[in-house]
């Protein structure tokens, strides 16, 4: 059982107070959907949880390990707004490097992951030649090889077609059914079951 504790979080951007005294606990199996209007601090919250941004105040722990510790960072999979893909590399090369930043993964598993997101045959295609949706699928293929417990997904469904959304939602459901935690933001309708909503 893992538990991600967010205690009294306070975030400010410039002169804007995005949120304050935010506290919640995400336990194994939880799917948290973070909602809010544009500029309400959804991305900032995910970045703080990923360890990219530092909050003004507050404490974040995963099973008593603080946010900057190796134990915390190795359990987090963060997917931001940006594609995190280099145009000059192929799908497999990009995925190999990005997943390798956390752990080494056999290449055949990466090819398998690309197949699962519907990119069979695109393994050796340069990412410059892929469409926006296909690029999103490449990075989402990382979910199929990730062992991280905490998934922080910022707008994971952007540019995906309905079939792509379904694949990702199924993957998130499976992950959480196996004891993982997922926090995600989306402006689209999500059919994920048992999702808890955090409104900012």
């Amino acid at each position: 059982m893992s538990s991600l504790n967010i205690n009294n979080l306070n975030c400010q951007r410039g002169y804007n107070q995005l949120f304050s005294e935010l506290s919640f606990q995400a336990n194994s199996g939880d799917i948290w959907r973070i909602t809010g209007t544009n500029g309400s601090g959804k991305t900032s919250l995910l970045k703080i949880l990923a360890g990219l941004n530092v909050p003004e105040e507050g404490e974040i722990t995963l099973d008593n390990h603080p946010v900057k510790s190796d134990e915390y960072q190795s359990e987090v999979f963060y997917l931001g707004h940006l594609s995190a893909l280099s145009a000059e590399l192929t799908s497999v090369e990009n995925l190999e490097f990005l997943t390798g930043l956390n752990k080494s993964i056999d290449q055949h598993l990466l090819v398998e992951a690309l197949t699962q997101v519907g990119l069979k045959g695109y393994e050796d295609e340069y990412c410059a030649k892929l469409s926006a949706g296909q690029k999103r699928r490449v990075i989402l293929a990382g979910l199929f090889v990730s062992n991280a417990k905490i998934w922080l997904l910022d707008e994971p469904f952007t540019a995906l077609d309905p079939h792509g959304v379904k694949i990702v939602e199924e993957r998130i459901s499976n992950h959480c059914a196996q004891g993982g935690v997922c926090l995600f933001t989306t402006h689209q309708d999500s059919t994920l079951p048992n999702q808890k909503v955090l409104a900012l």
Binding site: H81, L82, E88, G100
Partner: protein
């Protein structure tokens, strides 16, 4: 160590597939140096006297020109974010990117320098010293430059800012390196200058990846 080699391999692969970003600073280096004889004098005596200075100043500017790209693409496409949150040591990942930068910029400059040295009538012995100073000091240029590159990574149109930040830090290297070559031309001892360049290199290797990592984290916030 494995991630160091993986990052290095990735950066080299990206650069080879997009050669213009690597070739531009080198072309600048060769073209700029070859313009001096036209503008100053084709006389061997005049050129050989200023050859070391010319090659050193231009190679510094060529490195500076290439530094903008060091973190820029990875910042724009989000790879840098993934590097920062990776549980691998960020300074090690940065050191790997700096190594790739040196392989793609420093080594070609070292290899081109004898040709340009002879072009400016440097004698064989001085060309050897020139190459030695470049070998000792171009890694320092990449290492020190990485601090500036990581500080300006989120700022648009920051080329001028990078020069202002980094060039003052390059000046000691320029002084020791070009004076080593000038002294070698007169057959004087250059051990002192080489020790200084080596010291700068050792201090840069030890300190700059950490400073650069800190600067990158600040830039990404």
């Amino acid at each position: 160590m494995n991630i160091y080699l993986k990052t290095l391999e990735r950066d080299l692969r990206v650069a080879i597939r997009n050669p213009s970003s690597v070739l531009n600073p080198l072309l600048f280096f060769v073209i700029s140096v070859s313009l001096f004889p036209l503008a100053i004098s084709p006389e061997a005596a005049t050129l050989s006297q200023i050859a070391a200075g010319i090659i050193w100043v231009v190679s510094m500017l060529a490195v500076l020109l290439s530094l903008n790209a060091l973190f820029h693409h990875d910042f724009e496409n989000g790879v840098l974010e993934q590097m920062v949150i990776s549980h691998h040591s960020l300074p090690l990942l940065i050191l790997s990117k700096i190594t790739a930068h040196w392989i793609l910029t420093g080594i070609p400059i070292i290899l081109l320098s004898p040709l340009l040295g002879l072009f400016l009538f440097l004698d064989g012995e001085s060309v050897k010293v020139l190459m030695l100073t470049l070998l000792l000091a171009t890694p320092s240029l990449s290492l020190i430059g990485a601090i500036g590159a990581s500080l300006i990574v989120g700022i648009k149109n920051s080329g001028m800012l990078l020069s202002l930040l980094i060039l003052p830090l390059y000046i000691p290297i320029l002084i020791f390196a070009s004076s080593a070559v000038s002294q070698a031309q007169f057959g004087l001892d250059i051990t002192g200058q080489l020790y200084f360049l080596a010291t700068i290199l050792v201090v840069s290797i030890m300190a700059t990846p950490f400073v650069s990592a800190l600067a990158l984290k600040i830039s990404l916030e």
